[in-house]
């Protein structure tokens, strides 16, 4: 059934997707700019729109703990956080992943303290990148909504069984009203289906012990088991994307491309910047510049094959990082370079660090990035907007 378009901000769109799925358990702790998600969901609970057990915990550490064991117990479980909240959850991130719980967490991406700054960058999620979670990125509110629905299917797939982060840029998407086309609730329920947990704790007739202590002989193989699960993700995700297209008409790919086919210079970005970058690309194309932009739909697993294919034969690749590993590159840059190793020849590679702590980056800034690279004025690492 075709739904009427609605005006909704990113956080509320996440809450709407959750409401339509009606998970068994939601536990969360409020933090800017994720707050609206929990407030809105609390409203759905109060008005009886969902039958979810909704728990307002006393901290993010407990939020993720509660969600992890709830999922282990056999309940479909969602949560959301940002910044310091994700940092406070950090201890539980790799535990949730190694316990193979298919829970879904929205992250309203925000800079990590200090100094304290509530605005958007990718410092929170990038600092959590090695924890074994699948990490999906959205360009706009529609995608944040769509990915929240698709994430459930990806996480719960029996060949995956890993938790998923759904990232949306703090304020830029969380607090911005955009036009989206929601799905019919019945279609959403049918799409996500029933949660079929593996060896749930609450199957008391078959008592199972979850999360034992490993010695060196078992730890590494258990980690390798997760590696194998991650390898399954691109195929599973693309299948889920394709199924989703059937009910929504919206296409999703492992790596999203914009005018990359004949481009000589391409930028690789994450999140809402993909949209702004498209505008920059269009303006440069009017001048006849062969430029393009791409966004990996997921940072974990890192889509090596798709990116290698994308970079083949390009003159230069510009990696735009909204986070900085201080003392090294932006977190995405070495990953892009490593993916390029799959090809016989390497394009020129540049790293731009931009937008930290919410420093707004305009279309004209992105245009100047392409110009500087074309003119050979770019350094290996460039700090956009900082006077060096």
């Amino acid at each position: 059934m075709k739904q009427e378009d609605i005006a909704i901000n990113g956080d509320s769109a996440i809450a709407l997707a959750w409401k339509q799925i009606n998970p068994d358990v939601v536990a969360a702790y409020p933090i800017t700019p994720q707050t609206i998600i929990v407030e809105k969901y609390s409203e759905y609970v109060a008005d009886g729109h969902v039958s979810t057990e909704f728990v307002c915990v006393e901290s993010e550490h407990s939020a993720l703990t509660l969600c992890t064991t709830s999922s282990s117990a056999g309940a479909r479980t969602f949560t959301a956080t940002a910044s310091q909240g994700l940092a406070f959850m950090w201890e539980m991130l790799p535990i949730a992943a190694s316990m193979r719980v298919p829970l879904v967490m929205a992250v309203a991406n925000r800079a990590v303290s200090g100094p304290i700054d509530i605005h958007n960058d990718h410092g929170d999620v990038m600092s959590a990148r090695d924890c074994g979670w699948i990490s999906l990125f959205s360009e706009n509110v529609q995608e944040a909504y769509d990915l929240s629905i698709m994430a459930t299917r990806i996480a719960e797939h029996h060949s995956v069984q890993l938790p998923v982060l759904v990232n949306l840029d703090g304020f830029i998407l969380t607090h911005a009203i955009e036009r989206i086309t929601p799905l019919d609730e019945k279609d959403v329920r049918k799409f996500v289906g029933e949660f079929k947990p593996l060896h749930p704790l609450l199957d008391v007739k078959h008592p199972v012990s979850h999360n034992l202590m490993d010695g060196p002989m078992f730890y590494f193989p258990h980690k390798y088991q997760m590696v194998v699960a991650m390898h399954h993700v691109p195929k599973v995700a693309q299948d889920v994307f394709n199924d989703f297209e059937k009910i929504s008409g919206r296409k999703y790919k492992i790596v999203e491309e914009y005018k990359c086919d004949d481009a000589e210079y391409i930028a690789i970005v994450l999140g809402s910047t993909f949209g702004t970058m498209k505008e920059a690309v269009d303006q440069l194309r009017k001048e006849g510049k062969k430029v393009g932009v791409a966004m990996p739909r997921m940072f974990r697993p890192w889509p090596i094959a798709e990116l290698a294919k994308l970079m083949k034969g390009k003159k230069a690749v510009i990696v735009m990082d909204k986070h900085l590993s201080i003392g090294s590159y932006g977190p995405m840059f070495p990953e892009v370079v490593a993916a390029a190793l799959e090809n016989e020849s390497m394009p020129k590679m540049y790293n731009y660090i931009y937008g930290l702590g919410g420093a707004d980056t305009m279309v004209s800034d992105f245009i100047s990035v392409f110009r500087d690279v074309e003119k050979g004025k770019a350094k290996r690492i460039n700090y956009l907007g900082v006077k060096e």
Partner: protein
Amino acid sequence: MVNLANYKDFIVGDRVIEAGNSERFHTGDWRGQIPYLDKDKCINCLSCWIYCPDDSIMTENGKIKGLKMTHCKGCGICAKVCPKNAITMKGE
């Protein structure tokens, strides 16, 4: 090269579905001393049973059947709590 376990032998995640399988792991060889039960003195009060940390007091129909040595770590609690001194600890 170290010989690690094969990941394919595990179920998904760090889980064990065979409840109580640690019974196959024998802690009996940790023992420094061994308890001996004098059945004639035993009044089947079950004190040793309720206090044994390693579930090594075998019972049947509420009576002491004997001591199971596969897991007994030789702590001596059973001997100490026995009101009739029916259990004594001796070097192995």
